[in-house]
């Protein structure tokens, strides 16, 4: 088929930069984050705005950020993935098991890079398997994502527990802990944060500039229109859930390196935290709308609140209430926007 060949283009203007900015969800949520940082900096000028504090903030959000990045793709397709936290544990468990099995005496504490890379591959594959299962059931068997991933949320955790009779593995290679878990580069930037940042940057590129990203939006916006335009909706959904599983696997490996345990009991609410971050960042639960930058901001809002409350000696249970309120407000705004639009 030939493409149109008309030369006198550009007759229809783009909106001005300010107009585009003011209608972007990301812009407003960024203001909220900025306001929070300013408020806490004023309340605790010696403790909050410090390099150490921001370093802690970044490192503590790195793992969740990787989960939220995958979640962003899923939610833009109009889906949801409740299984990411369990998949993270499963991937960490598979990885730790693999590394132990490849080491002398069944303990990977002194393992070298060869074993560690095998562990990374195992983690990513372990995540991908669950991503594939989710994607297959959602895209091919047409079971609603909420149910499929609620099922795999339980199943992945169960499978992870079965692998080691319900107890955690703590024999994580020291080299890995030093390099990825607590190491820094470029004058003090934690390697864990750099890893998360690189993953996020690649994902942002994928989402916002490539055909894969464009199809992700199209599938979430109107699957029927996408299908008629010749987009393989089923295949694309498979890929999106696979990608999310893969990223949860990578997050599992990062978590293992940082906490040096598989943390079976520690990730029960990761799924909800990831979803909250994505939605607060302006990605619509109804699909078709979202940005990776928004997700980054959405991950930081709860973290900044928690840190800020700790530093200003407010009980951090307030953080849960505040995040809940912001989350509901974000979805409410999204719905208002949709209603206003559909009235036209």
């Amino acid at each position: 088929m030939t493409a149109p060949t008309v030369e006198n283009g550009g007759a229809i203007p783009r909106r001005s930069v300010s107009a585009r900015l003011l209608t972007a969800n990301t812009f407003w949520i960024a203001l909220v984050l900025l306001a929070l940082i300013i408020v806490f900096s004023v309340l605790a000028p010696n403790a909050f705005p410090t390099v150490f504090n921001f370093q802690r903030l970044a490192i503590e959000t790195a793992v969740l950020l990787v989960l939220a990045v995958g979640m962003t793709f899923v939610i833009i397709t109009g889906g949801i993935d409740l299984s990411v936290g369990s998949v993270l544990i499963f991937a960490g468990m598979v990885s730790a098991k693999t590394m132990n099995a490849l080491s002398d005496g069944g303990s990977a504490i002194d393992a070298g890079w060869g074993v560690i890379i095998a562990g990374l591959v195992a983690a990513v594959l372990g995540g991908a398997v669950w991503g594939f299962v989710n994607g297959f059931l959602i895209a091919h068997a047409k079971v609603p994502p909420l149910i499929v991933t609620l099922g795999s949320f339980g199943a992945a955790l169960g499978a992870a527990s079965l692998l080691n009779n319900g107890s955690d593995i703590r024999t994580v290679p020291t080299v890995l802990k030093r390099a990825l878990g607590s190491g820094t580069s470029f004058g003090g930037i934690p390697n864990l944060v750099i890893t998360a940042a690189v993953i996020t940057a690649i994902a942002a590129w994928l989402l916002h500039t490539t055909r894969f990203g464009r199809y992700t939006f199209a599938v979430g916006s109107n699957p029927e229109a996408a299908r008629r335009a010749g987009i393989g909706v089923t295949g694309h959904l498979m890929k999106v859930y696979l990608l999310t599983g893969l990223l949860a696997g990578a997050a599992g490996f990062m978590s293992l390196a940082y906490y040096s345990t598989t943390g079976i009991a520690a990730h029960a609410t990761d799924n909800l935290n990831a979803i909250a971050a994505v939605v607060m960042g302006g990605t619509s639960l109804f699909g078709g709308v979202g940005t990776m930058l928004g997700t980054v901001i959405g991950v930081f809002i709860p973290a900044v609140l928690k840190k800020g409350f700790n530093i200003t000696h407010v009980q951090d249970y307030w953080q849960m209430i505040a995040v809940g309120a912001v989350l509901v407000a974000a979805v409410w705004f999204d719905q208002q926007r949709r209603r206003a639009r559909n009235r036209l």
């Binding site: 030939t2 283009g9 783009r14 490539t210 464009r214 229109a225 010749g230 619509s284 036209l344």
Partner: protein, 254 residues
């Protein structure tokens, strides 16, 4: 009539025990607007879906440029330059007009980034603007989500999207339903322009004056079968209505 560009012969389509098409035939030539009319339930939409690849006929033949063809998906038809505008606007409301125009046909960048799937958004915007301009689609802005446009503009984009890519045949299932007078005229203009470029246009419509004003020929469907063919110039409103209701029949039952 010489060899038609696109022809359906004796199509049947049953959904379980319901027969939507019972040996329906249809033909359209290049550079011709043919209106397909019929009462509700006559099988117009089903016929168009079968001809455009969205549904597969139970039996019958489809011929394109003199060859028998079979479309398993609309993509098969599109590959031959056959496009469809559906009754329900199949657009992605969250995407902008340019993204919708190029949906499934994105322009990629040159070189390594293009190979990685990176899009050339600027080229798509520029070409989209040019195409909208050519087809008389007026938009205030090329980068707002099309869900925020008026119904008429949205429909214009949906029509433009198919027309731009249709090099041979375009099927339009009630493209002017739900449009205001001005928007409707604009869509009809687009239809005429496309016809003048040599594309075969098939128009389903309930609006008889519109049918008579824009089409060259009219084919009438009743109870899943073609019952009459008219040259629009010589047909009257009474002829069309008569054929639709069964008061008048030209083609013998087979």
């Amino acid at each position: 009539m010489n060899q038609p560009l696109f022809e359906a012969v004796d199509l049947t389509k049953s959904y379980g025990s319901v027969e939507a098409l019972r040996g329906a035939s249809f033909s359209v030539g290049a550079g011709e607007v043919v209106a397909l009319i019929g009462d509700n339930g006559a099988g117009k939409s089903t016929l168009v879906k079968c001809m455009a690849g969205a549904e597969q006929p139970t039996s019958g033949t489809i011929r394109f440029e003199g060859r028998d063809v079979r479309f398993d998906t609309p993509t098969d038809a599109r590959r031959l330059g056959i496009e469809t505008v559906y009754q329900d606007l199949a657009v992605a409301p969250e995407l902008d007009p340019a993204a919708n125009l190029f949906l499934g046909r994105e322009i990629r960048r040159q070189g390594i980034f293009g190979a990685l799937g990176m899009l050339d958004k600027k080229a798509m915007r520029t070409r989209a603007a040019a195409e909208f301009d050519r087809l008389g689609v007026r938009l205030q802005s090329i980068d707002v989500p099309i869900g925020s446009l008026s119904g008429g503009q949205r429909q214009s984009v949906a029509v433009a999207r198919s027309v731009v890519w249709a090099s041979k045949v375009v099927f339009m299932d009630e493209p002017t339903a739900a449009l205001g007078v001005v928007q409707r005229e604009r869509v009809l203009d687009v239809i005429r322009r496309v016809r003048d470029e040599g594309v075969a246009v098939v128009l389903i419509s309930h609006n008889m004056p519109e049918v008579l004003s824009v089409s060259d020929r009219v084919e009438v469907l009743r109870l899943g079968r073609r019952v009459a063919r008219f040259t629009a110039r010589d047909a009257t409103l009474e002829d069309l209505v008569g054929a639709m209701t069964g008061a008048l029949s030209q083609e013998e039952d087979t």
